[in-house]
């Protein structure tokens, strides 16, 4: 027993001895990020280089779990006195929530203060984070959806024209699919991932709005718009068409990892995923076949919309401490300078948000190595700021509902009309509940 108590005391002493470290008399800036895997390595390296490049500011980069975890942590900490960080990376659909938390300072303030030239930033990416005419946060790790196809299989099947619509994909799927002896699908022509992000992207591709009040941009949204403008019905009808085709597979919900695995293994000819997957897909495929990329497909042939950005953005906390806020802005400027954005693009597959990065050697080398990335850039430039995408406080929840209902359409045969009603009710209830408690 005595030994136990002694051991315990030792452990506790050791614990109290380890306190957070501060770097001399430098200004300490705490940066919360949410990327894992190799992307996190790149962030850490960039932060390390920043710290080594000057001797006034020390940036402490801290991982805070996935975006959802970080948002939860932000919710918890924002009830306390001061936020324990200066910069936070969050996903695009967290924007309205973060604005509502009233703890951030719009970066516009610092853009004006330092005369930062925003014309170098990709306008279609910047547009998402421009709310009420001011730039709230800086786009950082940005991606759009893209269609990946097995070019070798396309050539073998004699397909020369890459489809631009989902109907077009379904038309060529029979030429690409193969069957086992027992009649089951061996290789699918097209794999559908149930990912709520695609619902948002396709609504934009049809040039329609997701929520009311100007897509949640003129003022906060009070209801979804995809029921009245028919976007949801069109999409659920399309889901039904895909599920009825015997040349396609329904893979998963909440992501695209399994479709990607199937594509790499040659078990599907076409799949949809974020542009940020490109480097990984090419590395996994190796020499086994040629990978082609194309624009994210349209729902209807006469659609005129575009894609909007997904991914993350950097927010600055209104800490009231001028020195720390200046230092934070200094660091953000460093992260989006042309050289760093070229490296960021080459190593992660996210867009270089700074267009001057296109002139760097790193970028030129990368685009020669992965010409497929040009498709992603062209698609981004062909889209207009008017299809910038919506803002919604309860976006993460609604995304879940979209995936729930999609699952029912695919697996339980829920009719498209019923699906629209169900989704609309679920989403509007969540919006109403949030608005009642927050505005």
């Amino acid at each position: 027993m005595k030994k136990l108590v002694a051991l315990l005391l030792v452990l506790l002493l050791a614990a109290s001895g380890l306190t957070a470290f501060a770097e001399g008399d430098k200004i300490n800036v705490v940066f919360w990020y949410s990327l894992g895997g190799t992307n996190a390595d790149v962030i850490k390296e960039m932060v390390g280089e920043f710290n080594a490049s000057q001797d006034k500011i020390f940036v402490d980069a801290q991982y805070q779990g996935e975006y959802d975890d970080a948002i939860n942590k932000l919710k918890a900490t924002s009830m306390g006195e001061a936020l324990p960080f200066d910069i936070v990376q969050s996903y695009e659909i967290g924007s309205r929530f973060i604005i509502d938390s009233k703890k951030m300072v719009p970066v516009q303030t610092y853009i004006d203060k330092t005369g930062f030239d925003t014309s170098v930033i990709e306008p279609n990416l910047l547009a998402y984070y421009t709310i009420d005419g001011i730039i709230n946060s800086v786009p950082f790790n940005c991606s759009t959806p893209l269609m990946y196809y097995n070019k070798t299989l396309f050539d073998e099947a004699g397909i020369t024209e890459v489809p631009t619509t989902v109907d077009g994909i379904l038309e060529i799927a029979p030429k690409l699919a193969t069957f086992n002896a027992d009649g089951t699908l061996d290789r699918a022509g097209f794999t559908f991932s149930n990912y709520g992000w695609f619902f948002e992207q396709w609504t934009g591709k049809m040039g329609r709005q997701y929520v009311n009040n100007g897509n949640g941009r003129e003022s906060y949204a009070t209801a979804v718009a995809f029921d009245e403008n028919g976007a949801a019905l069109d999409l659920f009808n399309m889901w039904k068409k895909i599920s009825e085709s015997k040349y396609t597979t329904y893979m998963e919900r909440g992501g695209t990892g399994q479709s990607r695995a199937a594509f790499v293994a040659g078990k599907t000819a076409i799949f949809l995923a974020s542009t940020a997957n490109l480097a990984g897909v090419l590395a996994n495929v190796g020499d086994s076949f040629e990978v082609g990329t194309a624009y994210f497909p349209y729902v209807n042939a006469d659609d005129k919309g575009g894609v909007s950005t997904g991914g993350g953005t950097l927010w600055m906390v209104d800490s009231g401490d001028e020195a720390r806020m200046d230092a934070s802005w200094e660091f953000i400027q460093y992260m989006i300078n042309p050289e760093n954005q070229a490296v960021w693009n080459a190593r992660t597959g996210y867009f270089p948000i700074n267009m001057k990065a296109h002139d760097t050697e790193v970028f030129k080398e990368n685009i020669t190595k992965f010409p497929q990335f040009q498709t992603a850039l062209d698609q981004l430039h062909d889209s207009g700021p008017e299809y910038v995408g919506s803002l919604l406080s309860v976006f993460p929840e609604v995304r879940q509902y979209v995936e729930d209902v999609t699952e029912e359409v695919f697996l339980k045969g829920l009719s498209p009309e019923e699906a629209v009603t169900k989704l609309t009710n679920l989403a509007n209830d969540a919006i109403e509940m949030y608005n009642l408690t927050n505005y």
């Binding site: 027993m1 614990a15 380890l18 957070a20 895997g37 779990g65 199937a262 990984g280």
Partner: protein
């Protein structure tokens, strides 16, 4: 006269065969994900999606876990946190249970009921207020924020009390007659007798703490005090998967909790039995 007579030996052999036949598929079912995890961690990247078994073994992911990630330090942190919580709970719970089973005082049952009632409140419901308390004390980003809120548990008190109740009350009375005070009685008679239950409690608490995710994530910020479960999630990214590294990390973090099971198996089962006799 019957045609075939089964000797006792035969019967035993048959029943153990039957047991094997029932258990083996279950064992395979349970262990398969673990084996698959291990295979995924050693399969070369270009065979990851195309082959079930690797043509060659590639341990580079393990090297990377130890050299490029914070996992080694985080495992140490996990040990400090889970180990301290386990020790603290063994001490506090055995003492509290002693009071609730051997001592007579006014309101004993009421207090015990109140403590049990706290088991009905889900931890998630109080997480924000707990966070505010801990941050108000300036405990953020320290071991104590992860350890002290778990220093005692209603579940542990309950488990130990049920165990103590199986001991004869005469033990306590006889000890008192011989002039043994409560402390000595607890330390030299009750604790040795309750060892199986205490061991079970220890193993249970350790595993529970080892697998904690949300609370440690909430109260810590720097890699210096972060635990292994957060380290695991740090290996994951939706847009840049490194399956090999992730799986290697999972295997490395699994080893301590699995070994707890292997070494403490007897204690765990004893503990379950102890509760079962007089539950």
């Amino acid at each position: 006269m019957s045609g075939i007579t089964l000797t006792r030996k035969h019967k035993n052999a048959l029943s153990s065969l039957l047991r094997m036949g029932l258990n083996l598929p279950l064992v395979i079912l349970i262990i398969l994900p673990l084996i698959y995890t291990f295979i995924m961690s050693v399969i070369p990247a270009d065979e990851l999606y195309t082959r079930l078994l690797p043509t060659r073994w590639d341990f580079v992911s393990y090297l990377n876990v130890f050299e490029k990630t914070g996992i080694p330090r985080q495992i140490l942190n996990s040990f400090v946190v889970a180990g301290s919580v386990t020790l603290l709970q063994m001490i506090t719970c055995s003492m509290a249970a002693f009071a609730f089973s051997f001592l007579q005082f006014k309101g004993r049952n009421l207090v015990f009921m109140i403590i049990l009632a706290t088991m009905m409140v889900p931890w998630e419901a109080t997480i924000i207020s707990n966070y505010l308390t801990v941050s108000g004390w300036g405990w953020l980003d320290s071991y104590k924020a992860m350890i002290l809120p778990y220093a005692c548990s209603a579940m542990g008190i309950f488990l130990m009390r049920q165990n103590y109740l199986t001991f004869a009350r005469e033990l306590h009375e006889a000890a008192k007659l011989d002039g043994c005070n409560n402390w000595r009685f607890l330390l030299s008679i009750v604790i040795p007798l309750a060892r199986p239950a205490l061991g079970a409690l220890g193993a249970y608490v350790f595993l529970l703490q080892w697998n904690q995710y949300l609370w440690p994530l909430l109260v810590t910020n720097s890699d210096k005090v972060r635990t292994a479960q957060i380290g695991i999630s740090q290996l994951y990214d939706i847009d840049s998967e490194q399956i090999g590294l992730m799986m290697a990390g999972v295997v490395v973090v699994l080893v301590p909790s699995l070994s707890i099971f292997v070494f403490m198996q007897k204690q765990l089962i004893n503990g379950l039995m102890a509760g079962a006799v007089k539950g």
